[in-house]
């Protein structure tokens, strides 16, 4: 964490008291720890809203407390009426106007800055929502992947968002607000990341059975790292390294995996499921459901419905030897 972030968004001010209660670490994916200019802009607005809101709440509570403790004796009807009028007009009209007028200005300024900031675009990425995973394409760079969005830090990024089926919504709390993915429509989300890191993203619009397990990762990298990643990803799949992996590749096609999955550089060109060309380089399986380790991969291939019931991948019946060969092949797709 650089000192700039601490200054811009002091966490101890924004976070409600429950923050302590939940034992926060640096891993939490929240909007309260912004790692990009858009999220920071909104974070500043959040701070203003929380402070103003808390002030209004305290004022109302004080008024209520005084009302509860007040004694009705000792003042005539005329005094009571005048006091009531002051209270109603002061609390009901003056107070909201005093709060809402500056808030309107702050909102418009903030909205304007957010729009203005989005002038230039360093990188365009297309993201297509699927039940229940994310297709990620770098149209200018010839890269297709899934459930992971890599981007260079300090570069304005534009996501072009649409959906292949129902409505989804892209949200990476630490980087930006959310934007819906609507079939038949292309929305834009612009943001940047100012720190290298891994940020968890979520599907925010209820999209069916596995809405709860439709996460993704945004991986912000230094320019060099990103360049290296792109170069690697733009390559077609590496040919099987050895005999066992080659046998695994045959099993891949024999069992119909290619009907849904593409492995660039081979005969597998399916589009229903994630592109697997560089599967082994990804960190998770099943859109953030489990870590991409051999055991999980084996489980996912044989019984995907056990891990994430309702996803569209059917189980692949394999004996232990076949599974081992297939895993060898998949693990080679770096």
């Amino acid at each position: 964490m650089t000192s700039r972030h601490v200054r811009r968004v002091p966490r101890w001010v924004i976070a409600p008291p429950v923050l302590a209660l939940a034992g926060c670490g640096d891993q939490e994916p929240g909007a309260l720890l912004p790692r990009g200019s858009v999220a920071q802009e909104i974070g500043g607005l959040t701070l203003l809203l929380v402070v103003l809101g808390a002030a209004v709440f305290v004022l109302v509570l004080v008024a209520l407390g005084m009302a509860v403790r007040s004694s009705p004796l000792g003042s005539g009807e005329a005094v009571a009426t005048a006091r009531s009028r002051r209270l109603v007009l002061g609390g009901g009209v003056v107070l909201p106007v005093m709060v809402l007028v500056p808030l309107t200005v702050a909102m418009l300024v903030s909205g304007n800055r957010l729009t203005h900031r989005q002038g230039d675009v360093g990188l365009t990425i297309e993201v297509v929502g699927h039940q229940f995973w994310w297709e990620v394409r770098y149209p200018d760079l010839g890269v297709v992947t899934a459930n992971e969005i890599h981007l260079p830090v300090d570069t304005p990024v534009r996501l072009l968002l649409t959906s292949a089926d129902v409505i989804h919504s892209v949200w990476v709390p630490q980087l930006a607000g959310k934007v819906d993915m609507i079939p038949g429509k292309t929305n834009e989300l612009r943001f940047d990341a100012d720190t290298p890191g891994v940020f968890r993203g979520f599907c925010a619009e209820f999209c069916g059975l596995q809405h709860g397990r439709m996460h993704f990762l945004v991986i912000a990298q230094t320019a060099d790292d990103f360049e290296a990643w792109i170069t690697e990803q733009a390559e077609p799949a590496a040919p099987p390294a050895d005999e066992t992996a080659a046998r695994g590749m045959e099993i891949f096609s024999e069992h119909g995996c290619a009907a849904c999955h593409a492995v660039r550089g081979t005969d597998a060109v399916g589009v229903a499921g994630p592109d697997l060309t560089h599967l082994a380089s990804r960190r998770t399986l099943g859109a953030g459901t489990v870590a991409n380790r051999r055991g999980n991969l084996a489980g996912w291939v044989v019984d995907p419905q056990g891990i994430k019931p309702g996803n569209l991948m059917p189980p692949t019946p394999l004996d232990a030897a076949e599974l081992d060969l297939l895993l060898r092949y998949l693990e080679g797709l770096r």
Binding site: V18, L21, A22, C24, Q27, E28, P29, G30, A31, L32, A39, I42, T46, L49, V50, G53, V60, L61, L64, A67, V68, P72, R83, S84, R85, L87, V88, G91, G92, V93, L95, P96, V99, L100, L103, M107, G111, L114, D165, I167, W171, P173, A176, G177, K178, V179, D180, I182, P183, G184, K185, F202, C203, A204, F206, G208, L209, H211, G212, P309
Partner: protein, 856 residues
């Protein structure tokens, strides 16, 4: 009149207004207190069901990777929880309270269209049962309470769950519209003499405004649901972008309903707060005109805010800012109300009973909910908070704090009136503290969870995100809240049998319901009161009322020929206008609702013969219903003018100047004198309750038409060409001929009453127009699944044809009725009113279908 005469008169009144005993009585009752109470307890049952669903949800989320529920069950439960709480608990319990207490508060004996009221209950009950029937078939709705397509289309939700949801919700919404018609007519036309607009109790005001809003809001979700059901059953692509539809159309239609819906719940709840505050701090709510103006302002503004539920769908920044600032505006009228209650407490002498505690709890929670409301209205912040647990926390602060707490305050406050018994105060306060603490522990941490990334409707979350403690706290809190709710209800249940007797007015309250017995007798008031103040029960001594009973100076104190008589008064001044005879117990509402339900079940299971049969039987029953009334009411009467002889005498006693106490405020005396003058010269004038019912109902119908026309132009604006292909162009000849026939039919009905012959002739012409319209539609070769254009045109044509067909049925029925009772103006009035409305709407739809594609 001697005491014995009076007692005999009251006994006869009681008999006149009695429901029938036993099961027959249950099925035929129309009395507003019975129906209102049924709405209330049925809603409480649904509250418990929705509460159990909520607890299961919280159990699943208590830990990371929870295993209490699978994703399927979780999605079903949060869908049913939201649906149940919004549609089956919130609206019905508020309508039930309004149906029970508004007639008492405004000094009348029943709702003006009692059978329609009973019908509304059966429709609500059957709709609610239908929705929950899905648990037995296994096809439980799982599309969320806002049911966004395309997730809810047949492609992505092939089961019957969404159909259960759409049909059940539509049915319940229709019940809501019926109740709204009822309450609007009641408050506009049936207030006690002298209850001018500025003397309507705030709860009754809020019920009037709630009902008015329902007339304009509910039709939008009915229209949206019908379009989606037509899409699901017949493949019409209203929401399918590949054939010219747009999934965002649903969101617009839904939130044009959905945002006002929040205020439809909130406004009557604030009305309850006003009633409770006044009674329990023993002072009228300050700034009454400002409070009423605030209610009206919120009601109007709430229709212009729906887009703030759609801040993330990709609309232009300017649009977002406009809707955000408009949403801010709501804070002003809300603030006025909050500070009016605070000022009232300040200046009053509070009695710290359970109802007032619930009001304090309401103020604390609701103000916080309002503040987070301003936060989520701030578009850039909403981009973070939208669809997360922050929003879940926000709307539970608004809906539990803003609606459930006031409703509970009201239930405790009015319980003695409904049962004659007082609930325990100590248990009531314990329940309050459990609810207040439990609520905040359950929902406050959710603000933080939302900003941390926890999206709503997620059935699980992985370990390692740091969310476990806050979620566990939330779950524990929800169980404490539930314990408080159960304790509160147990307190009422216990008091129902064992509570201390309350007498008519245990709180020393200000409004007229406390002048009736507890529980009120069948006819509410032995004679109808005359009102001269906003707080009639407090001002009776000072303002010249009889000290003992308010009723003794009232009117309609003696029954006549066993007829259920109430007084119709003018809209603004509440001057007496006519005596209205209301219908008594009847089977028609029950059997009609049953027939409609069977029709709905037919649609649900694709048994189209059953659907058609149910609809036809329902129409036949409606005709029976419409004719029953007239037969019974007019044949009993030898005097067609409908003025009972005793009622002049009743008013006459009031002319005794000895009753008048000197005082600065002469308003009540003046009101009574004016009432007396009116009675003396009273010949029935103005329109019948049925006419008002038709007019208010037409408002809702016109709103459905408006929603469909909105859908048409929304689709048109999203289309590149309109119609999308040349094959969709239609010749204008036959439609023009149909238009000409219908216009002539309308012109023939222009004279006020219209001669019988002219109306028969107009019927023939309109029937010809309808035939031509059907010929033209069939001849167009349009297919409902071809594209969005043809689909929406077919829907508009069907809507227009249905309006016209119903107009023909109404006219035929009413013309026959008019021949059977020629002196009764009601059949003619009803016929003319609906006829004109239907023909105008038909012409509007004609213009949209035939003119719009040629000019825009």
């Amino acid at each position: 009149m001697t005491d014995r005469d009076t007692d005999a008169a009251f006994a006869e009144l009681e008999r006149t207004w009695a429901s029938r005993p036993g099961l027959i009585g249950f099925l035929t009752a129309v009395n507003h207190k019975q129906i209102g109470l049924r709405f209330i307890w049925t809603a409480v049952v649904f509250l418990l069901i929705g509460g159990v669903e909520a607890l299961l949800i919280r159990l699943q989320l208590a830990t990371s990777d929870g295993t209490v529920l699978g994703p399927e069950a979780y999605n079903q439960l949060f869908t049913m929880h939201g649906t149940t709480m919004m549609f089956l608990f919130g609206i019905p319990i508020l309508e039930g309270l309004a149906m029970y207490f508004v007639p008492l508060q405004i000094g009348t004996r029943d709702l003006p269209l009692p059978r329609l009221n009973a019908f509304g209950y059966w429709v609500y009950l059957f709709g609610g049962i239908l929705l929950h029937w899905s648990f037995l078939t296994g096809d439980v709705p799982d599309g969320g309470w806002f049911a966004y397509p395309p997730l809810t289309s047949t492609e992505f939700s092939p089961g019957a769950g969404i159909d259960f949801w759409l049909l059940g919700v539509t049915f319940v919404e229709i019940s809501g519209i019926i109740g709204a018609v009822e309450i609007v007519v009641l408050i506009m036309r049936f207030r006690a003499p002298g209850m001018t607009l500025s003397r309507i109790p705030l709860f009754s005001w809020s019920a009037l405004i709630m009902s008015g809003m329902m007339l304009f809001a509910f039709p939008f979700v009915v229209a949206a649901s019908v379009l989606l059901e037509v899409e699901r059953k017949f493949g019409a692509p209203f929401y399918d972008p590949s054939l010219g539809g747009d999934p965002l159309l649903w969101q617009h239609l839904f939130w044009i309903f959905g945002h006002p819906e929040v205020y439809i719940l909130l406004l009557p709840a604030t009305g309850i707060v006003s009633a409770v505050v006044a009674a329990h701090v023993r002072r009228p709510v300050v700034a009454y005109p400002l409070v009423v103006a605030s209610l009206v302002a919120i009601a109007i503004a709430s229709f212009g805010l729906w887009v703030h539920h759609m801040f993330t769908v990709g609309l232009p920044v300017l649009v977002l800012s406009l809707f955000a600032v408009a949403s801010y505006f709501i804070a002003v009228p809300s603030g006025i109300q909050v500070f009016a209650w605070i000022a009232t407490i300040w200046e009053g002498r509070p009695r710290w009973g359970t109802p007032l505690w619930f009001v304090i709890g309401f103020l604390v929670i609701f103000v916080l909910g309002g503040i987070t409301g301003v936060m989520v209205a701030t578009a850039p912040f909403d981009h973070q908070a939208h669809d997360t647990f922050f929003v879940v926390a926000h709307f539970h602060y608004v809906l539990i704090g803003g609606v459930v707490f006031p409703v509970f305050a009201g239930l405790h406050h009015w319980f003695p009136k409904m049962t004659g018994r007082l609930p325990s105060e100590s248990i009531g306060k314990t329940a309050f503290w459990l609810m207040f603490v439990g609520f905040n522990v359950a929902f406050f941490p959710q603000h933080w969870l939302g900003l941390q990334g926890m999206v709503r409707r997620t059935y699980t979350y992985p370990a390692g995100l740091g969310w476990e403690a806050a979620n566990m706290a939330s779950t524990v809190g929800s169980f404490v809240l539930a314990a408080g709710v159960l304790l509160f209800l147990a307190n009422l249940a216990h008091a129902w049998r064992r509570g201390r007797e309350s007498g008519p007015d245990p709180w020393g309250a200000d409004t007229l319901e406390w002048a009736a017995q507890s529980p009120p007798n069948n006819h509410n008031f032995d004679s109808l009161p005359v009102v001269g103040s906003l707080s009639p029960l407090w001002d009776r001594g000072a303002h010249g009322y009889d000290d003992e009973t308010l009723e003794s100076i009232g009117v309609l104190g003696r029954p006549w020929l066993g007829r259920r008589e109430v007084l119709r008064t003018t809209v603004v001044a509440a001057d007496p206008e006519a005596i209205v005879v209301l219908p008594g117990p009847t089977y028609w509402p029950f059997v009609t609702a049953a027939a409609l339900t069977s029709s709905l079940v037919g649609v649900l299971v694709d048994a189209w013969a059953l659907a058609g049969l149910g609809a036809v039987v329902a129409v036949a029953f409606l005709i029976g219903w419409a004719t029953e009334d007239r037969v019974r009411l007019t044949r009993q009467s030898s005097d067609p003018s409908g003025t009972s002889p005793d009622f002049l005498a009743a008013v006459g006693t009031d002319e005794d100047p000895g009753h008048e106490v000197s005082g600065s405020d002469q308003a009540p005396a003046l009101a009574r004198r004016r009432a007396a003058e009116h009675f003396k010269a009273l010949t029935p004038r103005g329109h019948s309750a049925s006419w008002w019912g038709v007019m208010v109902g037409l408002t809702a119908l016109a709103t459905i038409v408006a929603a469909l026309v909105y859908a048409y132009f929304y689709l048109r604006l999203g289309a590149d060409s309109w119609p999308p292909s040349r094959s969709s162009e239609r010749p204008l000849g036959i439609p023009l001929a149909a238009l000409a026939l219908v216009v002539v039919a309308g012109v023939l009905s222009m004279p006020r009453a219209g001669s019988g012959l002219a109306r028969w002739l107009a019927m023939g012409l309109a029937a010809g127009g309808l035939t031509l319209q059907v010929v033209a539609v069939v001849g167009s070769g349009y297919r409902i699944d071809a594209n969005a254009y043809e689909a929406i045109v077919i829907v508009l044509e069907v809507m227009a044809a249905s309006l016209l067909a119903v107009a023909l049925l109404v006219r035929a029925t009413m013309l026959v009725e008019a021949m059977r009772s020629p002196t009764d103006p009601e059949p003619v009035e009803v016929d003319i009113a609906y006829w004109r409305g239907a023909l105008v709407l038909w012409a509007v739809l004609w213009a949209v279908v035939h003119v719009a594609p040629r000019v825009v």
